[in-house]
């Protein structure tokens, strides 16, 4: 059984970074409730193209909830109303016929809008380049399981490693803070033996970069954790607060975090 939805869509249109931008309203008739939100946007774009108009620019890649590119704030919620779900995995059956839907880009100074719903998220890459890695000697691969990792540590690391870097945390934060992202990337490595040598340099370096990108400051609203499609727990932020204080107070100089491009 499939139902057809009539929707009123208000989509953010912006020609480029310098443009002020505005909402454009589209009446969508007979949208199948089987399709995903992105497919609904595809339907809209087909109609726009057929009418000789410019299609709405939005980012997407895997369409299976793992790449993190499909950034849209839907009715005030990053990735829409469904918990633990990316926009590409959100299906139209979660909407009702007659719904009005507002679609906006991630809004943060550190994520400037490139066009329509597409924002520049390079700030995240620069943060990772400043410590979100381990230095490993190349050569033959080490034996599997040669380095014991306790199950609890592996689980904690994995919870954080689930981060797909989509930026929903920044979009959801009333302060435009990237703390959940920074903390997830740090926590992922800080719970593993491979992450220990660069632990202090990592937290100092990554936070330094996040501040330089002009993200906001965390004031513990926890909206990030609620919006995260991978349900990264805000516990990782508390870990980062602790690790950062330790690194800042440590007597010895932290090992420089180098590299980054490779």
């Amino acid at each position: 059984m499939s139902a057809k939805l009539d929707l009123k869509l208000h989509v953010w249109r912006q020609k480029g970074p310098g443009d002020a931008g505005r909402f454009e309203t589209h009446e969508m008739k007979g949208v199948s409730d089987h399709i995903s939100f992105l497919e609904m946007m595809d339907v809209l774009n087909e109609a726009l193209i057929a009418g000789g108009k410019e299609p709405v620019a939005f980012e997407h890649d895997c369409r299976e909830g793992i790449c993190g590119t499909c950034s849209m704030v839907i009715n005030g919620e990053p990735h829409g109303p469904l918990k633990a779900t990316t926009t590409c995995q959100l299906h139209m059956r979660h909407f009702k016929s007659g719904d009005e839907i507002w679609v906006e880009p991630w809004r943060a100074r550190a994520f400037p809008v490139m066009k329509d719903l597409v924002v520049d998220r390079n700030a995240f890459d620069r943060i990772v380049q400043n410590g979100g890695f381990i230095s490993a000697n190349t050569g033959s691969a080490p034996d599997g399981n040669a380095l014991p990792v306790p199950k609890t540590d592996a689980d904690l690391a994995f919870e954080a490693a689930a981060c797909i870097g989509c930026g929903a945390c920044v979009a959801a934060c009333p302060n435009g803070s990237a703390m959940l992202f920074v903390a997830a990337k740090a926590s992922h490595l800080n719970h593993l033996p491979q992450g220990q040598p660069e632990r202090a340099a990592r937290v100092l370096g990554m936070l330094d970069q996040a501040d330089a990108e002009l993200f906001g400051n965390c004031t513990n609203h926890y909206e990030c954790g609620a919006a995260c499609p991978k349900e990264i727990p805000v516990r990782v932020i508390a870990e980062l607060n602790r690790d950062y204080a330790k690194a800042a107070l440590a007597v010895e100089e932290p090992r420089a975090a180098g590299g980054g491009d490779g």
Binding site: G76, A110, A247
Partner: protein, 238 residues
């Protein structure tokens, strides 16, 4: 700039500054309340306590300057962080939804500034006696009260009772404490996260410490104006 100085200016460093200065202010709020609750023990106890504080002399001034500095650091850091946070989202959303953030968490700057305004009002009222009535002016004369020990001192007890007999003043204190309780309900729970407490066993404490501390401060501090207004305390003061 050393690593430590730089860290103090970072987002997390200032988060620590907010938490530690906030905790120090909480300590003051508790001590201040505990001292004042001696109102219920009668004029002798409260006036002797007030005289004891006065007699600390230079120590009292050191404490005052310390408290003022902590207040200044807490407020200045809060305003700077708030300005940065506003700037971090130059374009607002057309639609916003709140999930985990609360009225308290979203109004920290407002409730903080109201607490600051109240602190100034409170000093004008009970420390500098701005616009005091004749009866209050008499009560705060340095020899208004004779202690059991024979020493003479201000009658703080009478001053408080006379002050809180005015319903407008008593209710303004109750309202201010509601605002402070709201600030603390987010603030104190927030401290656990800021100071890096991740223990799952403390999950419940983290959640309830703020509301519980806020409620305690509200109940304790409001008990005084309410008791005076209800005529349960201070019938000996005319």
């Amino acid at each position: 700039m050393t690593r430590f100085q730089k860290a103090l200016r970072s987002s997390i460093g200032r988060k620590w500054v907010m938490a530690l200065s906030g905790l120090a202010l909480c300590g003051f709020v508790l001590a201040h309340m505990a001292g004042n609750l001696q109102l219920f023990a009668g004029p002798e106890k409260l006036n002797a306590y007030a005289k004891g504080l006065q007699d600390l002399g230079p120590l009292l001034w050191a404490a005052r300057i310390g408290l003022l500095s902590v207040f200044a650091i807490h407020v200045a850091t809060a305003l700077k962080l708030a300005a940065e946070n506003r700037a971090a989202r130059p374009q607002r959303y057309a639609v916003t939804q709140h999930d985990t953030s609360t009225l308290a968490s979203r109004t920290m700057v407002l409730t903080g500034l109201l607490v600051l305004a109240f602190a100034v009002y409170h000093l004008c009222h009970f420390t500098w006696h701005v616009g005091a009535s004749d009866a209050i002016a008499k009560a705060v004369a340095p020899d208004a009260y004779t202690l059991a020990s024979g020493g003479r001192t201000k009658d703080v007890y009478a001053m408080v009772v006379l002050g809180f007999r005015s319903p407008v003043i008593a209710l303004s204190y109750v309202a201010a404490m509601a605002v402070l309780a709201l600030h603390l309900s987010h603030g104190v729970s927030s401290v656990f996260q800021t100071l890096g407490c991740t223990s799952p066993r403390l999950e419940c404490a983290r959640k309830w410490a703020g509301p519980a501390f806020g409620a305690l401060v509200f109940a304790g501090n409001c008990s005084m104006p309410v008791a005076v207004l209800a005529g349960m305390v201070g019938s000996e003061v005319r």
